[in-house]
């Protein structure tokens, strides 16, 4: 295909609007007569609700509605289980408002709707909830203990799910392997923390019987479908739009957060628009989190450093509910083998309930944990055998001629974990150049002489992206020549308005700026899932390509009729449709669009010009020939991938540790990334940069600390430290391009990638910097205090 725009560093089409402060985020919608909601949230991690007295709140002037579980009637149903799995034997999902018992601090207990948010929050203070506190399961260790306290009284041992997968014959290998090491690794909680919190605006139109919701979500279509079912409305009477969304990173792909049901419910009940905007404190205690796992790993390797087998048993903390099934631990299990030829692998995980905020995927989604474990293994092999760390990885890499490589595991989408393409050694070679790897030992030794501790770390990963089931797209040329393209996925900053426009522009011979892309509006496109799992470019992008290509063919047919030429001789370029080698015989794309819609009346400049042109008249027979497939220059197409496509990357960093304080600074950071064909290199690099920054947070700054009562004690940006420009170093990015054979564009996902290897390489670099102290990092995230403790422990030995 001609690709003038695909692959080009096109400037973002969406930027001028956002730069002028003219974005439309949910809280920017102020509708006439609108009321404001606030939620009362549990202050206990586990307690029986003895009584709720909301009478005073109800009497407060300006309060229109107070809801508790007792007021919900049929609405008092647990949220649907999004991704059922046979191993998930004890799923539990949340009620919109807690009924008899609360299970985590932050769980919704009551809702107030008032004239404004200030009064709504006043009213929350007036609701008197009598709790009978119950013992709290505040950690995985407590959840896993013998005769453990229970999160849900009817879930024995707190076990939600248990899954074993085996590849090859690990037992046999362990029995004879020359080297076997056993270790434990701890991964603690972190969270996505998009800069825009969650939010819902709902409007009920009683004349039309229609519900419109603007939600800061990554999946408006599933929410629309769910709301229609809950409120017994036809789906086409419910419109859910994700307008501009100020970051999601996974935490906004949920169905349902209670507020997403209750805000529309209140709007219907009151007949007035209702807005709920989550504040940051609420976000800390009610938006889904991730990461917490405990791994017990055994690994076997030979004298050459070849990894022979891995046995990984891990506990996964799902929080108080399993709204998203067991996707995250499945991804962990499937990601662990990474770019290595691991032929014997035993993976066992147990998903445990805790009295904490529920868990669903956060950028990386189980992968940073797995990569941390596997890369720690690679480093240990190198240390044990006195080999170079990069060399050990090279010896274990799957080779370019070994694709497709079947890891032998069932992936999160139920399909195979089958790598479609890759060249891991090429990535490592590029990384070594970026880091000046071979000269580092000299640099390190020089620094050491000055009493400075430099360390280098590397981390490799393979990432399943672009999963199904499908996405779709519609492309339409209007009579003025403008191209409209819509798809069901959403945009939270990934530049879809630009990258999808690039894909369409190539097919229709226009410029990206002439393509207006709509995402995340159920009225603009009716089918699809959402933006998650690094799948938008791969799945929706492919659908966009297919739809645009179909419009192109239609334009050629219509123009061929008008010019009495063969469709094969028709070309599209510069907004024109013309006969090859006879460019004077040309129509604008808009004129072809008018001609493709055989009405007797057409309006506008293009139609007037068309009238004056000498063109062939309509063919005899039906005005719409059956082979043309409908009026207008419009087509919808769907793309359903056979299975995930597997992107990869290798990152490395040189850090300096202040051994006196435990503070770490980055001297250099480099990332080599392979997401197949690149639609827009600037956008992809931006995704990598942002991922790395979040990864640095997850490696060294961001740890959600729960105390023994299940209270998050650092639930503010003062205490939960998101990296700032002062902490994130300059990041050098290079690409390897191994096109995916699975989709027509050859692309793989890029959204989550950057975050994945950072904790692993950080640990590697810390070990390297502090080798004199014999430090071996077995936990993530670290933080300056904890690193200081580790140093003290080592020095105390």
């Amino acid at each position: 295909m001609a690709t003038r725009w695909f692959g080009a560093p096109v400037q973002r089409i969406e930027d001028p609007r956002l730069l002028r402060g003219r974005g439309s985020y949910v809280d920017d919608f102020d509708l006439p007569e609108m009321l404001h909601a606030a939620f009362l949230r549990s202050t206990h991690a586990r307690a029986r609700i003895v009584n709720i007295d909301a009478s005073t709140a109800r009497a407060l002037p300006g309060v229109h509605l107070v809801l508790t579980a007792a007021d919900l009637g049929e609405l008092l149903e647990p949220s649907p289980l999004l991704v059922p799995h046979h191993a998930l034997t004890q799923p539990r999902t949340q009620l919109p408002l807690a009924q008899d018992e609360v299970h985590y601090v932050g769980e919704t207990v009551a809702m107030v709707v008032a004239d404004n948010r200030y009064i709504a929050e006043d009213a929350l203070d007036l609701i008197d909830v009598e709790y009978e506190p119950l013992p709290v399961v505040h950690s995985l260790e407590v959840a896993a203990a013998q005769n453990a306290l229970l999160v849900h009284a009817d879930v024995p041992g707190n076990v939600a799910a248990h899954l074993v997968q085996t590849v090859g014959d690990p037992d046999a290998v362990f029995a004879t392997a020359p080297h076997v090491i056993r270790e434990s690794f701890v991964v603690d909680r972190g969270a996505a923390m998009p800069m825009e919190c969650r939010g819902v605006v709902a409007r009920w139109d009683s004349h039309e019987g229609s519900l419109t919701c603007w939600i800061s979500t990554q999946g408006p279509i599933p929410i629309r479908n769910g709301l229609a079912a809950i409120f017994k409305l036809p789906e086409h009477k419910v419109r859910v739009t994700a307008p501009d969304v100020g970051g999601g990173f996974g935490t906004k792909i949920m169905m349902f957060y209670p507020e997403e049901i209750l805000t529309p419910f209140a709007a219907i009940r009151l007949g007035r628009p209702v807005k709920w905007i989550e504040d940051r404190r609420e976000h800390f205690i009610s938006a889904n989190q991730e990461r917490s796992q405990l791994h017990e790993v055994e690994y076997a390797f030979d004298d050459q450093g070849i990894l022979l087998a891995v046995r990984d048993k891990f506990l996964h903390d799902t929080g108080a509910y399993t709204p998203y099934g067991i996707i995250v631990p499945i991804i962990t299990a499937c990601t662990l083998p990474g770019p290595y030829r691991l032929k014997n692998y035993y993976s066992e995980f147990t998903v445990l309930y805790t009295n904490k905020v529920p868990v669903s995927p956060y950028r990386g989604a189980g992968r940073p944990h797995a990569v941390f474990v596997m890369e720690r293994i690679m480093d240990a092999i190198a240390r044990e055998l006195h080999l170079d760390r990069a060399e050990v990885r090279s010896r274990n890499f799957i080779q370019p001629d070994e694709f497709p490589w079947d890891v032998g595991l069932v992936y999160q989408d139920g399909g195979p974990t089958k790598y479609d393409s890759g060249d891991y050694q090429a990535g490592l070679d590029k990384l070594k150049t970026l880091l000046d790897y071979d000269n580092f030992p000299v640099m390190q030794a020089e620094a050491r002489k000055q009493g400075r501790y430099l360390g280098l770390g590397i981390g490799c990963y393979v990432e399943g992206t672009g999963i199904g089931p499908y996405e779709g797209a519609q492309v339409r040329v209007e009579s003025d020549g403008r191209v409209f393209a819509s798809t069901g996925i959403t945009t939270q900053g990934q530049a879809h308005f630009t990258t999808f426009a690039q894909i369409v522009a190539d097919q229709l011979g226009v410029e990206p700026k002439d393509v207006l892309v709509t995402t995340g509006d159920t009225q603009a496109f009716n089918w699809g899932m959402g933006t998650y799992a690094s799948r938008a470019a791969t799945v929706a992008g492919s659908a966009m390509y297919l739809a645009a290509a179909k419009v192109r063919e239609k334009a050629k047919q219509v123009a061929a009729d008008l010019f009495e030429a063969s469709p094969d001789d028709i070309e599209l370029a510069d907004g024109k449709v013309f006969v090859r080698d006879a460019p004077h015989r040309a129509l604008t794309l808009g004129q072809v669009a008018i001609s493709a819609n055989p009405l007797r009346y057409a309006y506008g400049e293009n139609a007037r010009k068309l009238m004056s042109m000498k063109l062939a008249g309509p063919r005899p027979g039906p005005a719409l020939p059956p082979e043309r497939g409908g009026p207008g220059l419009e087509a919808s197409e769907f793309y359903s991938p056979p299975h995930a496509s597997f992107a990869s990357g290798i990152h490395g960093a040189i850090i300096e540790v202040d051994a006196k304080t435990g503070m770490v600074t980055f001297v250099k950071y480099a990332a080599v990334h392979d997401c197949g064909k690149v639609i827009n290199p600037v956008v992809v690099e931006g995704q990598v940069h942002g991922g790395v920054a979040q990864g640095i947070g997850g490696a060294f700054f961001e740890r959600l600390v729960y105390n023994d009562e299940g209270q998050i004690i650092n639930a503010s940006f003062m205490d939960y430290l998101l990296p700032t420009a002062a902490e994130v170093p300059p990041i050098a990015v290079d690409h390897v391009e191994t096109p995916s054979p699975l989709n027509p564009l050859g692309v793989k996902g890029a959204g989550e990638a950057g975050v994945i290897p950072v904790p692993a390489l950080f640990a590697s670099a810390i070990d390297d910097a502090l080798s004199a102290y014999g430090v071996r990092v077995r936990e993530m995230p670290l933080h300056p205090n904890r690193l200081f403790e580790l140093l003290q422990e080592q020095q105390g030995r």
Binding site: Q11, G21, S55, D244, G247, A693
Partner: protein, 175 residues
Amino acid sequence: MQEQEAPAFTEESDIAVTVNGHHYERRVPVRLLLSDFLRHELHLTGTHIGCEHGVCGCCTVLLNGEAVRSCLMLAVQADSMAITTIEGMAGTNSDLHPIQQAFMEKHGLQCGFCTPGIIMTVHAMLRDKPDPTDEEIRHELSGNICRCTGYQNIVEAVKLAAERLRVSQSEMEMD
């Protein structure tokens, strides 16, 4: 249950402010945040709210020329002051301000939520420090959190904007 009085903060007060060159007189509840006043009374929704505790910087506006957190101020505290928000940056003509233009050219934004606050911070920074080093830029930006970009292209955008603003400043001085 005790007797419930009306909340103590419903008292109202008159304020007069100049925002982006326009004069506004409004009667507002004394507890109304400046950020809420700008967003929901004046409908200048480009100023965003990311944390409401003064850390993230999304709500940064210029108050009598100084970059401040509008979520940490009450509207009544801004009485008789001049405020510039993101909507006032580009002026009335269609061109973007050089800082905005540089952010577009350098891909200095993704979701765009933190962007208005960052642009206001950068505006004040470059006025006071027209030729900042990379380290100074990173230090000045450290009061604004961006969760999307990893700051790489923001730093690049600030450098480009600084260069262009210096050139236009020196051209003005030449004239």
